[in-house]
Assembly symmetry: C2
Homo-oligomer: 208 residues x 2
């Protein structure tokens, strides 16, 4: 993977996020990336394989962070939850475009291979979060909760902020083209909200 490969992937990422996979032509990508049309087939084989390369490229670089978090014996269950939230919010808001592709276009992707790739990544993430919550329950710090949907709530809340960006820009009086301003305002807001909510949701002292 040379720098040129990566440059094409980054351009494709932006276009896919803005216009969708089917809404983006390989000519769009080639044009914006400043490379010849044929280079995309030459480099990646096809448009579909370019997408697979993009997923591979982006999902690779955060791999391992969750493993580390889970291994850390010095952290309390509450600490782990807080760090988890920080991690996810940062990760997703700072990879806004890629996350848009992952969530928005997943159900429309026709390729079984790509769909399985994405589901696998999500399933692996789920297992890590589940481990943290289960440990907290074993330690009698967390109460019994719906495991799948508690994870779904964390993911879904963050996803909502990216997928309904237009709405939140309007509600918070942010210029909808000011990506940086949106991130700056939304990241701490998201972290605070999720921590406050999970604190109430998971606390064993809050009875059913």
């Amino acid at each position: 993977m040379t720098g040129k490969h990566i440059h094409i992937l980054e351009v494709a990422e932006q276009l896919f996020a803005e216009k969708g996979f089917d809404g983006t032509s390989v000519r769009d990508i080639a044009g914006k990336a400043g490379v010849n049309l044929a280079m995309i087939s030459y480099y990646f084989g096809s448009k579909e394989k370019l997408m697979a390369s993009l997923i591979d490229f982006r999902s690779g670089y955060t791999r391992g962070i969750l493993e580390e978090l889970n291994k850390d014996e010095s952290l309390s269950s509450w600490d782990k939850v807080e760090r988890l939230i920080d991690l996810y919010v940062d990760k997703i808001l700072n990879n806004y475009k890629f996350h848009c592709i992952m969530t928005q276009h997943l159900p429309t992707v026709q390729s079984d291979e790509i769909r399985e790739m994405i589901t696998d990544i999500k399933a692996k993430n789920f297992e890590h979060v589940k481990k943290i919550i289960t440990e907290g329950q074993r330690k009698k710090v967390f109460r019994k909760v719906d495991m799948e949907l508690t994870v779904g709530t964390v993911m879904g809340t963050i996803a909502q902020v990216t997928s309904s960006k237009n709405l939140y820009c309007r509600l918070l009086n942010i210029n909808k083209d000011d990506e940086e301003g949106y991130r700056k305002k939304m990241i701490p807001k998201l972290k605070t909200h999720l921590k406050q909510m999970l604190k109430a949701h998971l606390d064993i002292n809050n009875q059913e």
Copy 2:
């Protein structure tokens, strides 16, 4: 709007949800609906206007439900939250396909008109929910929470269940093609989870 119009919209809805707006051709729609290709232009003007018609068609029939809920003076704030959750979960899970289109394809829709349409609907929904929570706070029943993101959590959790259906089918051992089985299992699960979580999140007795 005749029955034939509606039939085409329903077919288009399913295809848009499965393959995306750009991934669906008007020939796909005409073929599956059993009408002549030219009828789509004849009826709706264009593919884009068909999409606008679909949004108008689907978003119309739930309008007014939230207004009613807010007007009901006999309900406590907790009751209203519970009813709100029931309403949203039923509405979205039973209009799974349309909701997929609304959330997944919104950011990729090029037409400003359609984007504004969707954002307007969401903003209106937000105001209704905000009203319920604000009222509960005024009555000293709910604590202070992040208004925008609390609504975002409810919406996001439900959206997550529809957009990551593949993942949840795997986690819950449901055949991923069994739409009905998924709904049957997920609707009560979602309602219980959201109620439990919001109960903890909003309760004024759960201090920061």
